[in-house]
């Protein structure tokens, strides 16, 4: 009798312990991924997959577009570019010639502003410039200031984010070279909530079609649409409910460096601008959304920033892995997922495609 009783007690103890852990796990998952306070709309087929190419490496990133070609640069092979003709799927390899003295590179980034291309390393810091005719990168700007992220937005202007040395907070700025090189910082564009570095972190964006700049915060439901000289700031809310960055910072006892104490709650994972639209990849589920979708696809929310409204959402199904970066160009959507690049065709009913001005005046949400 007593023996029996102790078996039950042992199994009960184990069962209770397992149960507690499972409940903790499920409730933590719920907090991180689910937010039932907002509802998404998924209209049928705003994009249609055309093809996916295996690149063989996951270190590619999008450098830009010219005519019908997509250019991918590679973090681990900085002198190499992969050119993909979006229509014919033809690929070509390009070798960039770095001119000038041997430059050190730590976080080199290549970006196109046709017919120019830029080789930027904000941690060195320097910028090289060349044309896409011959792919020769010549020294252009040196030691004008360190920066973290940069995109060329004109033949002689780079939009960047950096740490402002005056207050040690993240600021947006423009690196210009006209007669003289000048780094202009605009510390008031980003709104600090906690430390002004971690909490304001985000994605910098540029859309050549509408000539607008943008910034989407990682950790709050906000994104900015900016004029090219950063004088007009349009602050917009995304459909998520997290208004204040939920990050916790701690000082590492070993290195004394400031670091995240817990995984931050990411609201806007990555984003891009296209004409009058801002597209944001959100890792969070809204009301009535099946949770398995987070395992199978990336959710893209589309906002019309001109009208300040949420338009619709769509899924980008995983091709081996989740969307790392995506961009819209002409009538294409290009998404990098792991070592795959997937290409989709935009439905003109949902996106105002620039080439043929066949804008549908009746606009989105044709019932669901």
């Amino acid at each position: 009798m007593i023996g029996n009783n102790s078996y039950i007690k042992i199994l009960g103890t184990m069962g209770l312990s397992i149960g507690i852990m499972v409940i903790l796990f499920l409730s933590s998952e719920q907090q991180v991924h689910r937010n039932n306070a907002f509802t998404r709309r998924y209209p049928p087929h705003p994009i249609q997959k055309v093809y996916a190419l295996d690149l063989g490496f996951n270190s590619y990133y999008i450098a830009g577009f010219e005519t019908d070609a997509l250019f991918l640069a590679n973090h681990t092979a900085p002198r190499h570019l992969l050119q993909i003709d979006l229509a014919s799927q033809d690929t070509a390899h390009i070798k960039i010639d770095f001119q000038g003295k041997n430059l050190p590179y730590r976080s080199l980034k290549i970006a196109l502003f046709p017919p120019y291309f830029f080789v930027m390393d904000g941690s060195a810091p320097y910028v090289l410039k060349g044309t896409t005719k011959d792919w020769v990168a010549k020294p252009w700007i040196e030691d004008a200031g360190y920066f973290m992220k940069g995109i060329p937005i004109d033949s002689n202007v780079i939009f960047l984010s950096t740490i402002d040395s005056r207050d040690q907070m993240t600021a947006l700025g423009l690196l210009k070279k006209t007669d003289q090189t000048a780094l202009e910082l605009y510390p008031d564009v980003l709104t600090p909530q906690i430390d002004g570095v971690f909490d304001v972190d985000g994605t910098i964006m540029f859309d050549p079609g509408s000539n607008t700049l943008g910034y989407s915060y990682f950790y709050r439901n906000e994104f900015l649409v900016l004029s090219p000289n950063l004088d007009s700031i349009n602050t917009l809310k995304s459909i998520d409910t997290v208004t204040v960055a939920q990050i916790q910072l701690a000082t590492d006892s070993r290195t004394q460096a400031s670091q995240m104490k817990a995984p931050p709650l990411t609201v806007n994972k990555t984003a891009t601008l296209f004409q009058n639209l801002a597209l944001i990849n959100s890792p969070r589920l809204g009301r009535n959304e099946p949770s398995h979708m987070l395992m199978e696809a990336s959710i893209i929310d589309v906002y019309n920033w001109q009208k300040d409204l949420y338009a619709f959402s769509f899924y980008l199904y995983d091709e081996g892995s989740k969307v790392k970066e995506f961009r819209l160009y002409k009538h294409w959507l290009v998404a990098l997922m792991g070592s795959t690049v997937a290409v989709y065709r935009l439905d003109p009913k949902f996106f105002s495609i620039p080439i043929n001005p066949t804008d549908n005046p009746k606009e989105k949400t044709t019932g669901q």
Binding site: I20, S28, T251, S253
Partner: protein, 148 residues
């Protein structure tokens, strides 16, 4: 019969000491670098939201159980508690390995060098030890129940 009786008496005692040492070691190595432990726990995908108080709770539980395992009157209860804690920890590892987006590590000291599979085996070994110890310490009651 006499030999087996001795084992019955000594086995739970040995297991108690072993577990006690394990918990004391684990808890002390956490306390040694408590800030680091809290950060690591917070980075765990399961306990993110509760890291602050769970860190203290784990520490207090480990010390309490280690202490109670040395006291005869509480040994059986402490063994159950140790079994519960080990089961929770094992469940945690399995959940992290199979159901979480990424895999962190927050074990201290020597155990930091254990792989996750080795960790499960290590834990399973202790769970078996504790179960046997509990089963062996219960039949000690009948002689007391029949004092006549």
């Amino acid at each position: 019969m006499k030999g087996s009786y001795k084992i019955r008496q000594w086995f739970p005692y040995m297991v108690s000491i072993l577990c006690s040492l394990l918990f004391l070691y684990a808890a002390t190595s956490k306390l040694w670098d408590f800030q680091q432990f809290k950060i690591q726990l917070g980075q765990s995908p399961i306990l993110t939201a509760y890291a602050d108080w769970v860190a203290w709770l784990v520490l207090i539980m480990e010390y309490t159980i280690a202490f109670l395992l040395f006291i005869d009157a509480f040994r059986l209860k402490a063994l159950y508690a140790a079994l519960g804690l080990m089961s929770m920890f094992t469940t945690y590892i399995i959940l992290v390995l199979h159901f979480s987006d990424y895999i962190p590590c927050s074990c201290g000291g020597v155990l930091e060098n254990l792989g996750w599979t080795e960790h499960i085996i290590f834990n399973a070994f202790f769970i078996v030890l504790l179960t046997v110890a509990i089963l062996l310490s219960i039949p000690k009651l009948p002689p007391k129940a029949v004092p006549s």
